[in-house]
Amino acid sequence: MALTHLGTRKTLAAYALLVPVLLLLTLIILIPSLWAAAMSLTNYRLGQALRYVGLDNYRIIFSDPQFWRSAVVTLKFVVASVALQMLLGLGISLLLAAQFFGQRLWIALILVPVAVTPSVSGTMWRYLLDFNIGPINYIVQQFGFERQMWLASETLALWVVVLVYVWESIPYVFLFLYPARITFPHSMYEAARIDGASPFQCFRYVTMPQLKPVFLVAMVFRTIFAFRTFGLVWNLTEGGPIGATEILAIYLYRQGFKYWRFGSAAAVAILLLAFTVAVSGYQIRTMQQSVFVFEKRK
C-alpha cells in the first residue's frame, strides 16, 4: 500500500516537472501546426472574412505551374546536395579518423561553417562568386575558362547554390559520422589486414557495414533539413533568376508573406510536413528509444 502511494507521488512529480517543457512545445509548435493544417482548408488572408474552402488551396497549388517548377527545383536541390554532402562528409570523417597532429584544432576549423549565419555566408559567397570582382572568377580565368555569372545564370545558379549549401552542411554530416567511426576498435582493422584486405576492402567490408546505421540516420536528417532550407538560398539568390532556385520554402514564403495568401501558404507547409513525417517518422521512434527509454526493470 505504502509503496503504491510512493509510486503515485513519484509519477505526479515526474509529470509536474515535465509540464513546462510540454506546455511550451504544445503552445508554440503543436497548436500552431494544427492551426496551419486548419488554415490550409480556409481562404485565410489578412483582413478578410474567414471561409472554409475545403481542398481548394491544394487544388490551386497543384494547378500552379510555379508550384511544380518549385517542386522540381527542390527535388534536384535535395537529391544533389544530400548525395554530395554525405559523400564528402563521409570522406572527411574517414580522413580525420586517421588522427592528425593537432586533431582538435583541425576539427574545430572544419566545423567553422556551422557558426556562420545564412546572411553572412550569403554575403560572403555572393562576393566570392561576383562576376566582376569575385576571386572565383579570377581563378577560373587563370585556368583558361570564361568567367561566369554564377548566381544569375538560369542553368548554373541552382548547382552553385547546391555547392554553397553543401559547404554549409558538411560539418553536420561530420558530427554524425566521425564520432561513430572513432568508436570502432583498431583490432577490427588489424584482423582484416592480417587476412590480407586492401584499404578499399577494409572500407567496403569493415567500415561501411559498421557505419551504415549512423550513415542512414544522418542521411534522413540531412534530407529533412535540405527539404526545408530557406535562409542560405534566400540570401544567395532570393529564388532567382526567374525561379531557377525557388525551392519550396521560398515558394511558401512568397505565397504567405508576399501575396498574403496564408491559406495556400499553409497548404504548402502541410505538404512539407507530410514529406517530413514520411521520411522521419520511423527515425523519431528510434531516437526516442535510444535516448529516453530506460533499461528494462522488473
Binding site: L27, T117, S119, V120, N137, N235, F294
Partner: protein
C-alpha cells in the same frame, strides 16, 4: 595502426589542408576584406597584400548605428532564450533521468517529434496570432519561438549529462536531511555545470545565428543582426554601402561565436561530438 609511408602521410596532410582551406577560406576572405580599402576589394585581380585599414569599421560605426542596435537586440534575445531554455529543460531532464516512472519516456516521443516540424510551418499561423497578441515584431515573440525549438535538444543533452552522475550522490544528501529539491540545487546542479555550459553554447549559437524566424516574424522594431546584415547586403547594388562595411558588420557578428569556439575548443568539440553520438 601500421606505419604509413611518407607518400601516404603527405597525401593525407594535403587532403586535410584542402578540406580546412575550403571550410575556412571564405570566412578568412571576408574577415581580411573588412580590413581592406574599397579600391583594394574592387579589383578583378585579388590583392593579397594591402595596407590594412580600419576605415570600414569607422564607416560602420558612423553610418550604421542601426546595426549596433540589432546586435544588442540579438544579444538580449540570445541570453533570454538560453535562460528560458535552461529553466524549462532542467526539471524535465531531471525527470527523464531520475524519476523513471511508466509513461514518462513516451512523452519524449512528443518532445522529439514536435521538434521535427519544419519551423516555417508555424510562422504562418504565428504571424497573425502574434499580431493579435500585440507581440509581433517584439523580442518576446522570438524568445518564445527559439525556446520552443531548442528545448528538445537541451533536454536530451542535459538528460545524458545527469545520467552520467551517480544517483548515490543525491541519495547521500537526502540521508543528510536534504529534500529532493535541495539535493538537486546544492548537489546536482554544481556537478552539472559542464552540461549546462554545453547547452548554453549550443542554443546560443543557434539563436544568435538564426535567420528564418527573425526574418519572418520581425519587422522593423525587433530586427536581429543577421536580418540587418541581409538588408545591408541588399543595398550594395544601389551604392548605398560598400562591401568593406558589410564585411566589417559580418566580422563583428561572427566574432563572439568564433571566439567562443576558440576558447571552448576543447570542451565544445568534445561536447558536440558526444551530443551527436547520443543524439
Amino acid at each position: 595502426m601500421p606505419a604509413r609511408s611518407v607518400k601516404q602521410r603527405f597525401l593525407m596532410w594535403a587532403a586535410l589542408l584542402v578540406v580546412v582551406f575550403a571550410a575556412c577560406g571564405p570566412i578568412v576572405v571576408a574577415i581580411l576584406s573588412s580590413f581592406k580599402l574599397e579600391r583594394d576589394i574592387f579589383t578583378f585581380v585579388p590583392k593579397l597584400i594591402v595596407e590594412p585599414t580600419l576605415e570600414n569599421y569607422q564607416a560602420l560605426v558612423r553610418d550604421w548605428p542601426q546595426f549596433f542596435v540589432t546586435l544588442r537586440r540579438s544579444m538580449f534575445v540570445t541570453i533570454c532564450s538560453a535562460f528560458v531554455i535552461l529553466v524549462v529543460s532542467l526539471p524535465a531532464a531531471y525527470a527523464y533521468s531520475r524519476l523513471q516512472v511508466r509513461g514518462v519516456s513516451t512523452t519524449a516521443l512528443f518532445l522529439i517529434g514536435v521538434r521535427m516540424i519544419p519551423p516555417i510551418i508555424i510562422t504562418i499561423p504565428l504571424y497573425p496570432l502574434f499580431r493579435g497578441l500585440g507581440i509581433t515584431d517584439t523580442p518576446v515573440a522570438l524568445i518564445l519561438v527559439y525556446s520552443a525549438f531548442e528545448v528538445s535538444l537541451s533536454v536530451m543533452l542535459l538528460k545524458t549529462f545527469i545520467d552520467g552522475i551517480p544517483p548515490e550522490i543525491e541519495e547521500q544528501a537526502s540521508i543528510d536531511g536534504c529534500s529532493r529539491f535541495q539535493a538537486f540545487i546544492r548537489v546536482l546542479l554544481p556537478l552539472l555545470a559542464p552540461g549546462i555550459i554545453a547547452v548554453i553554447l549550443m542554443v546560443s549559437m543557434f539563436t544568435w545565428n538564426d535567420f528564418v524566424f527573425a526574418f519572418l516574424l520581425t519587422g522593423t522594431s525587433a530586427k536581429t543582426a543577421p536580418v540587418m546584415i541581409g538588408e545591408m547586403r541588399g543595398l550594395i547594388g544601389q551604392g548605398a554601402i560598400t562591401w568593406g562595411t558589410i564585411f566589417a558588420a559580418a566580422t563583428v557578428q561572427m566574432l563572439p561565436i568564433l571566439t567562443l569556439i576558440w576558447i571552448a575548443q576543447k570542451r565544445l568539440v568534445g561536447g558536440i561530438v558526444m551530443g551527436a553520438v547520443k543524439g
